[in-house]
Subunit: 360 residues, 2 copies
Amino acid sequence: MGGVKVGAGAAVSIQSMTKVETSNVSAVVSQIKRLKNAGCEIIRVAVKTQVDARAIKDIKKKIDIPLVADIHFDYRLALESIKSGADKIRLNPGNLKNRGEVEQVAKAAGKAGIPIRIGINSGSIFTNDERRLSAEAKKAKAEMTNDARIDTFVKSAMRYVKHFEELGFHDIIISLKGSNVSETVEAYKKISGLCDYPLHLGVTASGPYDTGIVKSSIGIGALLLDGIGDTIRVSLTADPVEEVVAAKRILSSLGLRRFGPEIISCPTCGRCQVDLQHIVEELDNKLSTINYELSTKAPITVAVMGCEVNGPGEAREADIGIAFGRGSGMLFKKGKVVKKVTAKDAVKELLAVIASPATI
Amino acid sequence: MGGVKVGAGAAVSIQSMTKVETSNVSAVVSQIKRLKNAGCEIIRVAVKTQVDARAIKDIKKKIDIPLVADIHFDYRLALESIKSGADKIRLNPGNLKNRGEVEQVAKAAGKAGIPIRIGINSGSIFTNDERRLSAEAKKAKAEMTNDARIDTFVKSAMRYVKHFEELGFHDIIISLKGSNVSETVEAYKKISGLCDYPLHLGVTASGPYDTGIVKSSIGIGALLLDGIGDTIRVSLTADPVEEVVAAKRILSSLGLRRFGPEIISCPTCGRCQVDLQHIVEELDNKLSTINYELSTKAPITVAVMGCEVNGPGEAREADIGIAFGRGSGMLFKKGKVVKKVTAKDAVKELLAVIASPATI
């Protein structure tokens, strides 16, 4: 899709979504450039009017990552977005009026050779169904068990998948985002057993930054640990750059991608004789300003440990590390003690090694 | 243990560890009080000298949550901590000199009626074994596959468990913390299939705050999702209060405990016509200053959504919620639209409902 491979063993890719009006081309482009610099590989824009759909043409000229048009309610917005050169359409088929509208979008996407994401959210799937429900059915739904809710969620997605298959359209990716972490994980696990299409992972409406990070890490992380998921979007009520940074942290925590050295540092305790928190924060800040993708030989794990309990072990296992004792520490390179360093010089010494990977 | 039940279906409890010298009683007590106020239910202190061990007596007089003595290298520190009234001993049996020392600690703990945590860390387990390894064995270890590493880790813990059982000591809790998330999760999954003792979950040396939160959320969260884990400790190279706050977020994200209303908010996109990020941040800040454990009738989910796509659905499913449209929003209580509110008044209106749960 627009040069980025999703699924079939490709690296798990990182997505985000712009948070300014899509018709404001300069604002959208500037946000996409910030996001791309942060590591975003696929960008989605909300298309709520024909003006938005036409703006995609101008946006596409100024960016170099694939663009996904996010469509709800009006299938004509999808058709216009495809005309404008969108690289993928995200559709919630349940909020289109009928199967005929879905069919027109599938036909246009097929002709353009672009994929469609069937993107179901817990917050809308039940709302869509709601319209067609009687008062009794609504009451029954309110009393549904969690398992029944998850089943409804998954069945709804599979019904749409089947519809696309009947139309001869197979260039599908699926998402099943719930605002509840456990339901989201269960839903993805279920659908991954029912079909082989790539899955776009995310926990929707995950809340403000600090809780959103936790919910997204658990939901996306637990699925990736189980080998489920091909592309991820962390949703945060925050600057979208934070979503991309969090996504990178999730992928590197699991060893699925590597974006720079990983810091292994202990929480410290009454044993620690140096201001480890300060040292680690300084190192973290310095490292985040360097683009490590340039140097593939750079060390990938840097341990900074506060005492003799786990310090020597972690420092020895890391590519480079310092295990502190009383006031000073031992610098390790690839498991071997190199020299004694003071707490004051620790960051400088580590950065020097990182800058000259040949010395490791 | 000291009034807190761990395991056998008890609520998953939250632990942390002090980060000041244990012999500095006033500093330790003041940190424990801050941690308890934040939600910490079990506290651990590092015992690295006999002075530390004796300080436990004075600390215990001034706190009202159970205290765990963290012991490494010297079994006599465990004996002295038990004498001082420690409510539990954390031991890494691998770094004691021999089985006789372990036996003395088990005997004293049994007599005092307190449990022992067999706490193995990836950073120390291999270091301990290292001492006894030949150069060839070291090389073999360095070339171990991940699976073999995890096996060694789990087998090592089970060997210690068996030793305690042979001594007739069964008041055991186990931890198997690795600095690598996937290995940690695999190790806990394996051991949970091998024995029925309660498990203390954590990812060790997880790094600075922002990455530590991600690693701990994935590791601890994935295990809890699988029904594994009885007590948790989030390790962060940061203020220990952050560890407790993160632990509460993990547990409430999974619906395992509830510490206050949960905010469901969308990430916003080009559809959103209000400054949702600001509204959510203000609401989050206000909510965090109120102790919601006092009012069990307070709403538990508060949705704040930016547009008509998922907004009405999430707002309707939450106990209370606002779904914004163009400039204003609809306030929902228990699924029913109550009134129109402006973006400016949104936080005030939500807080008013939260403060008077009877009106919902």
